[in-house]
Symmetry: C2
Amino acid sequence: MSREVVYGRNPVRELIAAGRRRVHEVWALPELRDAPWLAPARPRPASRAELGRACGTSDHQGVVAFCDPYPYVEARDALAEGGVLVALDGAQDPRNLGAVARVCDAGGARGMVMTRRGSPGVTPAVCKTSAGAVEHILVSRVENLASFLHDAKGPARWVVGADSADGRDYREIPWSSDTIIVLGAEGAGLRPRVRSACDELVRIPMRGRVDSLNLSVAAGILVYEALRGI
Amino acid sequence: MSREVVYGRNPVRELIAAGRRRVHEVWALPELRDAPWLAPARPRPASRAELGRACGTSDHQGVVAFCDPYPYVEARDALAEGGVLVALDGAQDPRNLGAVARVCDAGGARGMVMTRRGSPGVTPAVCKTSAGAVEHILVSRVENLASFLHDAKGPARWVVGADSADGRDYREIPWSSDTIIVLGAEGAGLRPRVRSACDELVRIPMRGRVDSLNLSVAAGILVYEALRGI
């Protein structure tokens, strides 16, 4: 089985805490060896240069783990227990993906759905920017987002797309705790087929001059609104 | 007078559109010269290499403007007309500052207050990550944030600090449209003197395993909540 790297203190801590993927080996700077969260993983001492080579960036904060690949779930499993999901129609920036993962974890959404093509997936950089949140939420990759949404919706599950031009004000719709929130790429918005798969379009009012909120900010406002009643 | 650079398409477009600072000169790739938003500035043709040298990054998207320094406002002017302000207690990452500026613009907050020391101010990188939002909102730098808050608060103006441990749920307090929202650095939270200058502490519920939201996401949720009624 191929192995992946996870780097950075929060990501490695959450990788270990979540226990969802097997950790083969951990390398760390000698001074981190006895940190309570890391000691049980018995890290192998490594230099900054070795750590940098292992993960391809200097952003490792002294620790790199080698582990099983990210455990994506099947779409049906992401849907199985209900709850809020965030579906991303074409988000490519690892910082955005990581920040949306943090929103899901903090806000109580079950996870994220993204397309297999056009999205990088849960790369080591996404793990890092998510502060390890990806280890706790569900992430599913689908071939075709519009088809996924068509299959997923039903009497008890609502599909709500964010559309800055045409949507109803997000404060005015009846939110359900069993909702898929669909967000497009910044600037581009939702593709037509994805848009037409939505039961409802909502917009967050833009009161200024610059047109769009950062993707993770929009995700935060909508996830907290969907779960406002809990 | 010293001059600053602003780079990137949105930042330069908003710099020109806002008209708050004098633009000395604009350099652009030849193919951008006739773009409707740029043509009136009569850009001087420049190569990618020249643009990169002028702004110190390859992230210029083909356009760099030389202009007056960023027009910070005095604290009293930021307060003069009421409204919502976001005060940052120690935010250093330019991406966070830029994203909070976008939140202010989009959400209808008047602007941001930051400390002179410990914060980079509105650098070219902040202009870029704000997509030009900094040209439209007010930004004030103060020597001492706790003193500023003490001076600012009054019967009509409320100072609300975000505190993930002790605050009241943000959905439960009576928000006023004349509020200063105070956010600490990620992880560190508010410093004690800043914290004690707040009339009220609020928290955004964290329902997952990873402890804090990205700064701009927290700002987005609270700014939209403060102005929910408008």
